[in-house]
Symmetry: C2
Amino acid sequence: MQVVALSCGNGGKEAQDFIHKVFMPHLQGFLTAEGEDAGVFEARGALALSTDSFVVDPPIFKGGDIGKLCVCGSANDVAMQGAHPEYLSVGFILEEGLEVALLQEILASMQAQLRLGGLKLLSLDTKVVPKGCVDQIFINTTALGPVLYPHLSAKNLKEGQVIIVSGAIGTHGAVLFSQRAEIQLDTPLVSDCQQLYPLLEPVFQSGCKLHALRDATRGGLASVLHEWAQSSGVGIEVEEDCIPILEGVRGVCEILGLEPFMLANEGVCVLCVEAKDARQVCALLQEGGAKKACVIGEVVAGRGVTLKTPWGSKRPLDILEGELLPRIC
Amino acid sequence: MQVVALSCGNGGKEAQDFIHKVFMPHLQGFLTAEGEDAGVFEARGALALSTDSFVVDPPIFKGGDIGKLCVCGSANDVAMQGAHPEYLSVGFILEEGLEVALLQEILASMQAQLRLGGLKLLSLDTKVVPKGCVDQIFINTTALGPVLYPHLSAKNLKEGQVIIVSGAIGTHGAVLFSQRAEIQLDTPLVSDCQQLYPLLEPVFQSGCKLHALRDATRGGLASVLHEWAQSSGVGIEVEEDCIPILEGVRGVCEILGLEPFMLANEGVCVLCVEAKDARQVCALLQEGGAKKACVIGEVVAGRGVTLKTPWGSKRPLDILEGELLPRIC
């Protein structure tokens, strides 16, 4: 089979063949319940669950693809509630005529991430729609797992707490911008797309006090800080000089007139921690491989998000308005 | 706001406004964790989870719409594992330019089904893609809940067990066929789309022995019976005369040359039960409102699925090949 046919989604013979020949070689080892409508698992205590649809364009980009992105993205959303992502469900929406080779590349990439994260698949769904009804491939993933570090919330921020980022910001967004057909910038950048739980587990277990945790996806760092400031009724002040940004990302931003604070990330999180624990949290993140993890600011009295420039002046950090670039995740 | 703008999915200010103005009036009361990346809930014991993407065309049809369909469809898949659907996650993929009034109608319909099923929303995601990248609206739902009646499986069938259907078959498929733009048949039929758990709860609690349970969606009754026969390595024999089919569905099938056994259902399930309990299971289903619930056949030695015609002859019941009609759910 070279391309996906409409009959691959008919719920009959071709659909069974399609699943067995194309999906199973990559996903079988991770499925908990082949051939049933629902997967069953044993649970005890608090579980966190998050759903996300992935519509990224192009489906394969530098440093990742929609398969890697959907596993990382949903696992990260669960990790952001202080939980260990253990299970996943996946729903594919495929366009009639999609190259099977492209689908297989995406499935291989999912397989690698499922293995890396020790994730199991509870449920798998495949729909095929007529040509023109969807652009190539969309994937929805739902991840869940036990809460290890409870009570993280956007409403927890209080004056004096410290804001940390786990890595250089804006890279995923800059890669997508530069790779999009209408732009086609040549840059050595690769997406930051990665699973964050392995990085965070030592922090959860350290005894350090975390108040809020969020991965800075659509809307970027600016969006997380604004949501936190608004939800908690506080101000946040960040130092522009402290925020790690790769040279290549600065370059893309200059050429295209973008703010790196608003660009999407897929493997960078923002942490709000107790001031006395900030140094230890940064050290743990760095030991885990997040070499650029650092303090970027603090929670202050007042409202809104303020950026302190390298010249000592202050300006409001704007939140994204309009749409920078659709389909970045 | 009259139509959905691309910026409604930007993760920034417009996205927040869009969620609060359009989604929250309908869904707020069901959300467990507004403003967080993941919902948290307490669990104990075995849970069943199922995911499904809904791409039905048209999004509003006689007897339902994509909003009703996605809640019923996912809740039903969980119920088919003997579980009580309690939680749901929902991911919307919206086309730029979608009428907000259409979206609101769909959300109101979801709200009614969430209330009816006593379901809570753990996680909500919204993506907006440029015009032409998706056809109006696709929804992915993932449902989960505690298993009350464990060990139902397509692999459980043994000779002598009895096959029951909960209602007249093929109605949803016939409605979609007759309403599709290229066909436009005028019929009084309405989709059978409904939540099945309330109907099944008394059966789960009755002490009757169920072996397998499946809702007959894509591929219809024929697909369920074939999957069961194959998974269990048995034969299944059904009596054509016993299978309930509405007159209107027979009419659509005659005009269009279709087999009702292959048409999709969205509120009809197939049960495989111990022979001695068959009468009681039918009675419980009928008391619950499924007036047409009845025995249609039995598990036999051999392989494959056989249809006994009203004239006493036998023929193989074919499984769907090719694609009857794309996007029926």
